[in-house]
């Protein structure tokens, strides 16, 4: 299979399996080149769009289009130099996409306020990369980048991809489960955005997808409604931090409480990719948080124990690790050349 075919295959897997689970939608042709708008400055005739996705933003009346540059590197190819070159190239693509009538006609809906961001997807096809990918980004000089004001590029490395792929896998697994942890179909769930005091949640009903701001953070929170029991809801927190402490869990519990996710009709589960000491830290954090709640709490009824109803709900929160899988998106190098 040639490189183009491999890019198409990788884009197809990502579209249908991974990002579909985060409620992203794919638009336009895959693996398509289009005319560069600044040929001299960018020193190229064309830019590629391996695949383009879109989602609606929760905190603005706008739609975000994600122009993806898919890379599949061996361990030894994941170098600072390679990542820097790829970032600079993607930055040029975004700068042009914002100006290009051709790109917009291929990928943008009519009559929408929108912004274009770049996603550099660096997959390690031999599964051998164990270095600190973030260190590979240190050599990127922001002055060499071209993407316009209001835009951004996101770089997902092997570990990020592993994390997101495992969330995807767990969601799929839970959807197929015959047990009580069964997740409903996609139409019944959405990713959670808190109301921000500094910004109104402007598209609460419309914005259901996990944005890249969410996917690059420590919490990815999925909120679903049980189609079988209209008053039942559920929250699954995918918590990434491998060395989370009791304080991290206390903070997470407070986050859930503050945003109205700890209620009688809501089942809360926290899922982590790592086990190790996390169950112990979670238990300590939960107990300390409840102790803080119960400071000064006395139920007037002598039959009741001295524990608040909220504390009872917090005790119901379950932490569990989810199994690790490794999906093969590509088994050969992709995207080693730069224009």
């Amino acid at each position: 299979m040639g490189e183009n075919a491999n890019i198409s295959r990788m884009a197809e897997i990502l579209s249908k399996e991974v990002f579909a689970e985060f409620l992203w939608q794919q638009i336009g042709p895959m693996n398509k080149s289009w005319q560069c708008e600044q040929k001299e400055a960018h020193d190229t005739k064309e830019h590629p769009s391996d695949v383009v996705f879109f989602y609606d933003e929760p905190y603005s009346h706008s739609r975000t289009y994600i122009n993806c540059d898919l890379k599949s590197y061996s361990k030894s190819s994941i170098t600072s130099d390679a990542i820097t070159k790829a970032a600079v190239s993607l930055s040029k693509q975004i700068a042009c996409a914002e100006q290009s009538a051709e790109w917009q006609s291929l990928y943008v809906h009519d009559d929408m306020d929108y912004n274009v961001i770049g996603l550099l997807f660096v997959y390690n096809h031999d599964g051998q990369y164990e270095g600190d990918f973030r260190k590979r980004l240190d050599s990127i000089d922001i002055k060499d980048l071209h993407h316009p004001a209001g835009s951004k590029i996101i770089i997902l490395g092997p570990e990020d991809i592993h994390w997101l792929d495992n969330i995807r896998y767990e969601i799929t697994y839970m959807r197929g489960s015959q047990n009580s942890d069964r997740l409903p179909d996609r139409e019944f769930y959405r990713y959670f955005y808190p109301q921000l005091p500094g910004r109104r949640n402007l598209q609460l009903d419309k914005a259901k997808a996990a944005t890249l701001d969410i996917l690059t953070s420590q919490y990815v929170i999925l909120h679903y409604k049980d189609p079988r029991h209209s008053d039942r809801e559920g929250v699954i927190v995918f918590y990434r931090r491998a060395d989370a402490t009791a304080q991290d869990f206390m903070y997470l519990i407070d986050y859930l409480r503050l945003h109205g996710l700890i209620k009688e009709n809501i089942t809360v589960k926290i899922k982590t990719l790592h086990s190790g000491n996390l169950p112990v830290e979670f238990q300590k954090g939960m107990q300390q948080y409840i102790e803080g709640l119960n400071d000064g709490y006395q139920d007037s009824s002598p039959q009741q124990t001295d524990i608040s109803p909220l504390a009872e709900l917090i005790k119901e929160i379950k932490l569990s690790p989810f199994s690790q899988v490794r999906t093969t998106f590509s088994d050969i190098p992709i995207g080693m050349d730069y224009e």
Partner: protein
């Protein structure tokens, strides 16, 4: 800090205030670095204010919030040192006993640890200052101060950071020692408030820089000056006064000339003219080269906090090691722990001798 944060989720507004409030520590490159740690690269055209807005909307977990708070915190600017001499023979056991009393007294508010090294009792006091007017992510400033009781034959030197909290702790401890001994302790501090002559106040500093044993004076890099009111006419005492600034420059040039030429300061007509107008030195920074191994270049500072009365004497020392080419980078750094003690003691001894000589003749 961590308990209050972990019990209460930080809102985007609180994060924005945290990021916005320290332009130096959370500069545009630092904010870009925070975003890059998540793999996010905002446009190079994004302003710092826009970065603050964008980053404050991102979800942060507890560890990340603590990281942000720590990035903003200024490592406490190194405090200068001051000292008090407690006259008489005070037993180390008495000192340790009153520290134990103090530790119990402040339990829950301050963390006190003690260590005895030879004839010195070292006390560390950790405490927080909280400014409730600020949001909870930025209201707390943690401090750790070190106080040393250095026992000599017939007196004890108490060396402490020249800040209010240091003074308060030491006053408390001295009060406790007095109660324990059932008698007052006479103390000695460098205080030239009774010296009302400009040239004697200046002499205190010029002697200080030239009398350090085992050192060769290399340069005087800065001075602070003040002025007596002349003929009972009250004049504004303002360091920002451009005229005053000019006198500072003149006096620094005169002192530097004396250092380089080896001439006597008092023979300089320009110096005499400034003296006549009531000007005197209240602070000085100078560099002296060690004449024995390891041949460090030392940068000393000595000054009175209360410049009008020449009270609240404080001092500092930093060093620049000599390179293998016998040159100096002129980047001065602080000594680690006990290394500073030797040099601070030099200043303390010379300052005390000078002070006693000057006050003897009043």
């Amino acid at each position: 800090m961590n308990d209050s944060i972990s019990q209460n989720f930080a809102t985007d507004r609180e994060v924005r205030d945290l990021l916005m409030c320290s332009k130096q520590k959370l500069s545009k490159p630092v904010l870009a670095e925070i975003a890059l740690a998540r793999g996010i690269i905002y446009s190079p055209k994004t302003t710092r204010e826009e970065l603050v807005e964008l980053i404050s909307m991102l979800p942060f977990d507890h560890s990340e919030i603590i990281d942000l708070i720590q990035r903003r915190e200024h490592p406490r600017r190194a405090d200068k040192t001051t000292s008090i001499v407690l006259q008489g023979d005070i037993a180390i056991e008495d000192i340790r006993a009153v520290i134990t009393d103090y530790t119990g007294e402040v339990y829950g508010q301050e963390k006190v640890t003690t260590q005895r090294i030879s004839n010195t009792v070292e006390v560390h006091v950790k405490f927080d200052e909280i400014d409730y007017a600020k949001n909870r992510l930025i209201r707390r400033q943690s401090h750790d101060i070190k106080i040393e009781f250095i026992k000599q034959e017939d007196h004890t030197i108490v060396r402490l950071p020249a800040i209010e909290k240091g003074q308060l702790v030491v006053e408390n401890l001295i009060g406790k020692i007095e109660s324990r001994r059932k008698g007052t302790i006479s103390t000695l501090t460098i205080d030239l408030s009774q010296v009302r002559v400009a040239d004697k106040r200046t002499l205190f500093f010029t002697n200080l820089i030239s009398d350090l044993p085992e050192f060769r004076l290399r340069n005087v890099t800065s001075i602070r000056i003040a002025k007596f009111p002349i003929e009972n006419i009250e004049e504004d005492f303002d360091l920002e006064d451009p005229e005053f600034e000019s006198e500072t420059g003149s006096l620094l040039a005169i002192v530097q000339n004396v250092v380089f030429s080896g001439e006597n300061l008092t023979t300089s007509p320009e110096y005499q003219e400034l003296l006549h107008r009531g000007f005197y030195i209240t602070g000085i920074r100078w560099q002296s080269q060690q004449e024995t191994a390891p041949f460090h270049l030392l940068q000393f500072e000595a000054q009175f906090e209360d410049t009008e009365n020449c009270k609240d004497f404080k001092y500092d020392v930093r060093y620049c090691p000599r390179s293998s080419r016998n040159t100096y980078s002129m980047k001065f750094k602080r000594f680690q722990n006990e290394d500073a003690g030797y040099f601070l003691e030099l200043i303390e001894n010379i300052a005390q001798e000078n002070f006693l000589t000057l006050t003897k003749t009043i």
